[in-house]
Amino acid sequence: MTANGVEILLVEDNPRDVEMTLRALKKRNLANQVHVAKDGAEALDFLFATGAYAARNANHTPKVVLLDLKLPKVSGLEVLKKIKSDERTQTIPVVVLTSSQEEKDMVASYRFGVNSYIVKPVDFDKFVEAIGEIGLYWMVVNKPLT
């Protein structure tokens, strides 16, 4: 998997969720260009080509970021905030994928400029459906700036 080919950045610390998400994307043939960051710090390093990703071309941005909110090190909301407050990244669509139905999380996310807020269903069938549709929408239907 090359950095240049990344279309989807999945920021998720739970490997099971990662596996299920990838499986859902795979069903829509979207899993090939997914890069997984296991915490917020890694996500930021990837996006801004810092740290372990210093060699990466920062100009090559993913088409969509699927972001969990509850993350080790740097929280999802902080990641979102950084993305949306930086000129280089603010046009990247960010979809929050979370278990939290907390209003404050939703409000904060929208305030920071999230493009979509999805509560992960417990029901796997619905989960697959939701992920698939998100992927399809942002990867295929949506026309990005660049």
């Binding site: 739970n14 099971r16 909110l69 509850k70 278990s99 939290s100 139905q101 417990v122 029901d123 796997f124």
Partner: protein, 668 residues
């Protein structure tokens, strides 16, 4: 011859002796003696006359008698004297003599005229006098005093009389005759008995004769008849009058009419009795009032006391004894200020009361003999006597020990409460964190259970037999159920904590909204909805929508066995609230379990019959209660159910839901 000479000599001697004798007799006689010649010139004037007239014999001999008389009486006196010269003899002629000091002496005279040898020619007249001046004065005095006595005796209000030593009455005063209507003739001696009461008379006689016999003063009350025939009681007093030797000469008696006195006495006694009764009654009243007042004072839990002008205690009640630990006897007469922890401030309070008339809620502290300190509020007011003079101060103290303690307790409580609030806030924060954590951490593994079970199913279905696939389904169903439960719990917790944004609610719109949401998961069902014109309410629209969603989805769920489900929502204004009901034609419920309906996790049906977590109605109740409303349920097995709730019609400021909803409309 010789003998003749001797005889002559003898005779001369005798004559000389006689003359000497006469001369001595004349000069030393006690009575004044005077001799005058036919020309009324004084020839002899003895020593007694010198005393009577104050003149010396040598001065007056040879002078006219006229100088001896008071000028006004000279003429009349001389006429009497001329008669003696004409041969008349005085036996007792009264002629006054003027003393040289100007006083006039009354003198009784007798006289003799000496005639010459011819027996005709007067040679001299000799007169001897007796000075009766003192006797005359005495007579006058007696006459005057007797007159005075009678005048007095007639003027006194009493009857009066005088009796002889033997009791024979010889004089009555005028009042006696006036009262008895008798005459002196009828009364003289013992005639008085006729005006006595015959029944009492023997007793009177006995006492009176006894007094006469013993010579002791007499005193007795007896009746005497008046002119009108009525008897009046008289107090009679009789005093003996004695002469120099102590012999009784007269009795002087008075009778005092004591009838008016007796009547007055009777009246007075009656009056006094009446007064005594009044006084007794009044005393009883006062005593009972006193007892009542005293009772009140003693019953007072507040220490009360009175102080005199000098600040010393004059009275205390039991509460004062209790708070000071000192007895009434110990307290009275002492300076109350000394029992306070700050005597000077206490004195100042007392002085302020005297100066201003009152002092209010002065905070002081009393010291009990056991050393305990009692904070009190000191109130005092001066009190006055009937003349309005300030007599002392009435002081009342209110023991605020308990209040202080309560205040302290309240402070502690408040601080505890603040601590508790802080704790509670902390707990709330924890709870939020917990919910957050639950939503992520609990749901994530569930999703994995379901997800991986599904993967297993997808990838290995061919290698599982039917039982294996069934078991996998159970795993997945359980995971989904638990996911639903967690979601419901999170919703319940979130809506319970959510701040309510109270505003007018257009209930019909909200109901339509809820209906649409519920219908999405009721595909394939035939439901007849009846949502009429609902009155507006006042509340938090988001949570009220949850209420309707829950009630509607319940109705949808429990009407599943019906070919055609009917779900109706109705509402009407009742006083200050609006009452809404959601009615369905579902399976209903047994009213016996009515009160369990609204409890969390309480379910009346098994999951086989109707799925559910048992949270929905609990959430409805929680939300409605947070709005200040009530919830209830009515139903019968197989005959449908009605769930009701109330909401306020207007907010606390009186803003109506209906009116405000128009504003909302225009804003939209």
């Amino acid at each position: 011859m010789q003998s003749e000479v001797a005889v002559r000599k003898q005779a001369e001697e005798k004559l000389r002796e006689t003359n000497d004798y006469l001369e001595n007799l004349f000069n030393h006689a006690n009575a004044p003696i005077i001799v005058w010649d036919p020309q009324f010139r004084i020839t002899r004037f003895n020593g007694a006359f010198e005393a009577l007239s104050g003149r010396r014999a040598c001065e007056v001999v040879g002078k006219s008698l006229a100088l001896l008389f008071p000028p006004a009486l000279v003429e009349s006196s001389m006429e009497l004297i001329e008669k003696t010269t004409a041969g008349e003899r005085w036996e007792t002629v009264e002629i006054a003599i003027l003393h040289l000091d100007g006083s006039v002496r009354t003198v009784l005279w007798n006289s003799a005229t000496l005639l010459a040898a011819d027996g005709k020619t007067p040679v001299a007249t000799i007169a001897q006098g007796q000075d009766i001046t003192d006797r005359k004065l005495m007579e006058l005095a007696v006459r005057t005093s007797e007159e005075q006595f009678r005048t007095m005796a007639n003027s006194i209000p009493q009857l009066a009389w005088i009796a002889r030593a033997d009791g024979y009455i010889f004089w009555y005063n005028q009042r006696w005759y006036e009262y008895t209507g008798t005459t002196p003739e009828q009364m003289e001696g013992w005639g008085w008995q006729s005006v006595h009461d015959p029944d009492v008379l023997p007793q009177v006689m006995h006492s009176w004769t006894g007094a006469i016999a013993s010579g002791k003063p007499f005193e007795m009350q007896f009746p005497l008849r008046g002119t009108d025939g009525q008897f009046h009681t008289f107090l009679t007093r009789v005093q003996p009058l004695r002469d120099a030797s102590g012999q009784i000469v007269q009795w002087f008696g008075t009778n005092t009419d004591i009838e008016p006195l007796k009547q007055a006495e009777t009246a007075l006694r009656q009056h006094r009795d009446h007064l005594e009764q009044l006084v007794e009654a009044r005393t009883a009243e006062v005593r009972s009032a006193n007892a009542y007042n005293r009772g009140l004072i003693e019953a007072s839990l507040d220490p009360l006391l009175t102080k005199g002008r000098d600040g010393r205690i004059t009275d205390v009640n039991r509460a004062t004894e209790a708070i000071t630990g000192r007895s009434r006897q110990e307290l009275i007469g002492t300076d109350f200020a000394d029992y306070f922890t700050e005597p000077e401030r206490a004195r100042a309070a007392y002085q302020e009361a005297f100066r201003e008339g009152t002092v209010r809620d002065y905070e002081l502290a009393l010291r009990h003999t056991d050393g305990s300190i009692h904070p009190v509020l000191y109130n005092a007011a001066v009190y006055r006597d009937q003349a309005g003079m300030v007599v002392g101060v009435f002081a009342a103290m209110h023991d605020i020990t308990e209040r202080k303690r309560a205040e302290e307790a309240l402070r502690t409580l408040n601080s505890d409460l603040a601590d508790r609030s802080a704790e509670l806030e902390a707990v709330n924060r924890e709870l939020e964190a917990f919910s957050y954590s639950v939503s992520h951490d609990l749901k994530a593994p569930l999703r994995s259970v379901d997800g991986f079970a599904k993967m297993l199913e997808e990838d290995y279905a061919s290698r599982l037999d039917d039982e294996g696939r069934r078991l996998l389904r159970v795993v997945r169903d359980s995971a989904r159920d638990m996911g639903q439960l967690v979601n419901d719990l999170l919703t319940f917790s979130r809506l319970s904590r959510k701040d309510l944004k109270m505003m007018p609610i257009k209930m019909r719109d909200v109901a339509q909204d809820a209906r649409r949401q519920v219908e999405m998961v009721a595909a394939g069902r035939t439901i007849r909805w009846d949502i009429g014109e609902l009155p507006p309410a006042f509340g938090d629209e988001a949570t009220i929508r949850e209420v309707l969603i829950n009630l509607f989805s319940n109705a949808v769920k429990f009407t599943r066995p019906r070919q055609v489900a009917t779900i109706a929502i109705d509402g009407r204004v009742e006083g200050e609230e609006v009452r809404y009901t959601v009615t369905d034609n579902g399976v209903g419920f047994d009213m016996a379990y009515q009160d369990k309906l609204f409890c969390v996790f309480q379910r009346l049906h098994t999951s086989d019959q109707f799925e559910g977590t048992g949270i929905g109605l609990a959430l409805v109740q929680r939300i409605v209660q947070r709005h200040g409303g009530r919830v209830w349920a009515e139903g019968k097995v197989n005959e449908g159910a009605t769930f009701g709730f109330t909401l306020p019609r207007k907010d606390e400021r009186g803003r109506h839901g209906a009116h405000a909803s128009i504003e909302t409309e225009t804003r939209q």
